[in-house]
Subunit: 356 residues, 4 copies
């Protein structure tokens, strides 16, 4: 009773993935006898310790059920109701979370910025922040910056760029939030330490995604700025985001980082994406919209070709008339990528009228 | 790495329970290959159908990650920001959800009512509703009633009482919400159909609990009033309550109702609770605070005796100086109940000074 | 085109009063030529200075258009969304402001307390605060106390009581808000200094009412706790409470406190109230519900008598079957009080069936 | 004690204006004896009738204390928390009200549109609305359009443009809100009836500004869509926007529309603005940024010249390096305009280095 039997490979989203076997086994192992609720179980108690080791600093970790909750509650803890959050104009928090950030902040403003390769550019941010209406009572007051690593278009901020953004944030007393729905994919790309990509570069609070990369239903908020821990803990409970049987989410998260599983899973996804991206880029009439640096491929091709792919039943996400997105997962294969490349080749080289 | 090896039985809460084997198997079975996200998978598509069969009417079902989310989002969909919700003064929504209902409604008011056996009494409700400041602009306007079945103290509304409340609600154009965190325990007690205990008695929207009774992390909102379906669906997404890999929650919920598993699990919990309640009530200096009609036992006993139980390491919840709560689960046993009874017996019959 | 020609005296509310001549003249005087907007005019600039002199400490003053705005925005500045506010169960903020405090705080909870003479009793408050669920994530966290001086029933907190409440607040790190819709009436009663009745007794922020006591449309928030000034200033603008032509509100407030006008006006109202209260108390079948300490009289008399007064066209507020409220104003007279006493005498001594 | 004695004319904003004599007289006339509170007085009761006559249809009128309150509460009544509002990217609701609309709607989104002359262009609106993510749960749902008449840059929507926008709104079931902070200036420009400029063109709810054009503190919400009346009335009270002594606001509003006073006042302001605009446009190095159609003049001139004007003490608003705004009022004169023109002439023709 699932879609596994379908003929064509599915590159629609990372969310279509199953749970990785290691994580499912961890859930099963946690399923023995009673355990204290609301985070007082042994798994949850380990979380802070394991993640503090992973991040090489003392962090607080809060499992949440979705990335939207992670983002919106992180930001609500950093931002006053009359505050403003700088983000890229393609940021998921602005375009695809149903206004969760506005809801949980009590109506704060998202100020969107342009930026090449779907990343905030430090000079653009600095200009915006410097020119903000500081202290003007009828204007939203800058409180936070949110960056997405890897970005919504699969590009990856280099460390120097995060650090430059972190410096601007620190200069202006803004919190720096990282939407890490694809944290592992970004980290695998950079090959640096989790610490380097986060708090050492100025990140105060992190939406640590696991669900897209092999977990079942376990994202987390990782808090580097200790002042945010207590208020966040209340906001989570009030938001219905404090799971009673938390051991199952915690067990997933522990397994996810155990022996760097999360990096192995992400590296696999990135690798298939790179392979698929290269294959597509070599096709006539196909152009990559953004460099493939993580597990997402955005390709521009003729609308007619896209229509054909849709008609064929290929699973992908369309973004406008001539742009499509493919997402590679930890369970994707080069063979599946080859199939997609072949299908796209046929679609773009077919007759120019839509005789499907 | 869990608490299973502890010496004493754990009757602290239903939330300490593991996942029932049937539900864990359902999760494992769902873990094959890719599946569409955000509820477009085969499992989630089945939910509405199976629950409509179960409830003998067309319902919409939305999985959520916690009961708090279920309650607060259900009520936010029924109630205007300047509206009011009638509930019992011991209602979980007022006493133990961190203000989630106030947060998600935009600041609606909870109007609490007294009532014997921790249930709203229809005459008290009617008097409150009738005497409300209808149309007065500086007073909260009645919009909903929320009842908890089984109640926070383990008592169960008889059908006639729900119907009487439903009639008041209908007369006054109020929505009727049921907090069914222990829906199965209430239903097992009454032995009626799910339809009889809900929409046939006037319930418009139901927080359908499964987590406390054997699921891993899967509660749901079941909507009987079709007008609420669309607005609820937006509020859920905005609240970070729309799981991307929804198949896992849906698979749990399907298994939970398959072959009435939920009733078998609840019947077991209720049965152990009845056994434990009877055993405790027979002890000297022990009095049941409320009739044991579901899986909760509230007992009054001397503070000194409670201190002894705590010192012994018995797991229960203390509610004030002289009241304690025990909760039986699907995986509780009469043997464990016997152990508790023996411990309590020793605690209440010990010397009157606290030589522990 | 107003109600001045009506035959019977009007004791319905202080809000039915006209503007005192002194304040109207101040408005007229302010109406010359252009003046800077949003508080940068000369009148508004004087406000902080004059009120700081009046209160013998440095305060910040913000004119607002209503007492509801003053209360709700004061409290929203003191209280976290997951916070709680202690107030008397008859507090206006809970019973008569349409949920403004819940709205502006983002859904904080009002925790109501009983208390003789419609005042919070320090021991009851201390017990409530001490027994609060501090640090428990699913329970509202105490953040503020709100007292009303003079109270909603016209009683007045003695200084020692305010100080005792202030001490509890300070001990527990709660903000102390005073709803001073009838601040002048309370102050005139006590005969102490504004400083003694506020910050010296622990008050952090004050809703300073002027509209009920002779102003046209000018209440204010007076801030003693300097940490609240900046966040309040943003919240006011965002709430639509920062008047562009602020000079007119400021001119009213300056005239209101000039030469202690506000105390003279309040003393007059209090005096007529005392006279009316004594006259009513002397009648058969009439009993004062609360001591008359400010400008409000609550009297209990037979329902039939109240019906007769209503039928006669007397202007008062009915509070239940057998309780009515009279409010004396700066422009009320003893002659009007005599008229009311005579009417009530006839109403209570008439035949026992309602032959009106 | 005001700024009237200053040497230079003040064209900084319409908010610096005093109250027109007619309106001050109306306030004085209302100040006789007691009058019912919260809108039950004779003045307030007349409001609906007089405005219904003025607008040639049955309307409900609610006085409010500021334009920000008028806008935010109007929109909050039209828009779901997960809804979206289309407005021009220079709309006051987005740029200058401290996030009031986000606050009162519970976090709805403002979607800003470009448009020549600072007006929404119907084709751009239609494209945006048509391309909206209707029904997509993680995207804000279009609920309203807000236009500003006269616009923030003093341009005026022709009737046909409003009607075209109204048609789009009707087609898509969106509410159409008009921010009429300068309603009279727009209406005076068009010379049409209030009905033509509002409901006949599809406007559902109107922020009716009076404060900028001669009132003291009295804006209003005029409701054409009867479904909005009741919910708005609750929201106003909850927002602290229901004045107790409402007669004074109502008396202002009645005087404001009596014998079309509001149009005479606006015509005067528009006329001085046209005169000033023409005079400035004729100067070397000065260019009008927008056509002068109401009472605002935006002029581009060298930064150095602006610096000189500032140094001279001329009162205007700077909008960026090279743009300044002048605002003419009902009490502005052509003589004052001449003074400004002379000052600007000297500023732009002075030496090119800033020897002030």
């Amino acid at each position: 009773m699932n879609d596994a039997t379908q003929a064509l490979p599915n590159f629609r989203s990372d969310n279509v993935a199953p749970v990785s076997p290691e994580i499912l086994r961890a859930i099963e192992a946690a399923n023995r006898g009673p355990a204290a609720a609301y985070g007082d179980d042994d798994y949850s108690k380990l979380l802070n310790q394991r993640f503090s080791t992973l991040f090489e600093t003392e962090v607080a970790v809060f499992p949440v059920s979705t990335g939207t909750a992670a983002n919106a509650l992180s930001l609500a803890t950093c931002v006053r109701p009359y505050g403003a959050i700088y983000c890229h104009k393609e940021a998921h928090i602005d375009t695809a979370e149903g206004g969760a950030t506005e809801a949980f902040t009590g109506g704060a403003k998202l100020l969107t910025l342009p930026g090449r390769h779907f990343r905030i550019e430090p000079p653009i941010l600095r200009e915006a922040v410097t020119g903000a209406a500081w202290g003007v009572r009828n204007r939203a007051q800058p409180d936070a910056v949110s960056i997405t690593q890897a970005s919504e278009y699969g590009t990856v901020y280099p460390l120097a760029e995060i650090a430059a953004i972190g410096e601007i944030a620190r200069d202006k007393n803004l919190s720096l939030h990282m939407d890490g729905a694809r944290f592992a994919n970004g980290l695998a790309r950079l090959g640096c330490s989790p610490a380097d990509m986060t708090w050492r570069a100025g990140v105060d609070i992190l939406s640590f995604g696991a669900t897209k990369n092999g977990a079942m239903s376990a994202d987390a908020i990782v808090v580097f700025d200790h002042n945010l821990v207590e208020p966040l803990s209340y906001r989570l409970r009030r938001a219905g985001q404090t799971a009673s049987k938390m051991r199952y989410a915690s067990a997933q998260l522990l397994a996810y980082v155990e022996d760097r599983l999360f990096l192995r899973l992400a590296a696999k996804a990135n690798s298939v994406a790179a392979y698929l991206g290269a294959g597509l880029a070599a096709l006539p009439d196909v152009r990559l919209v953004a460099p493939v640096e993580a597990n997402l491929i955005f390709a521009k091709l003729p609308a007619l070709a896209i229509d054909r792919l849709t008609a064929n039943g290929l699973q992908f996400a369309r973004r406008g008339d001539e742009v499509i997105r493919f997402v590679a997962r930890f369970d994707s294969t080069e063979q599946e990528a080859d199939e997609v490349i072949a299908l796209v080749r046929r679609a773009v080289t077919g007759p120019t009228s839509i005789g499907l």
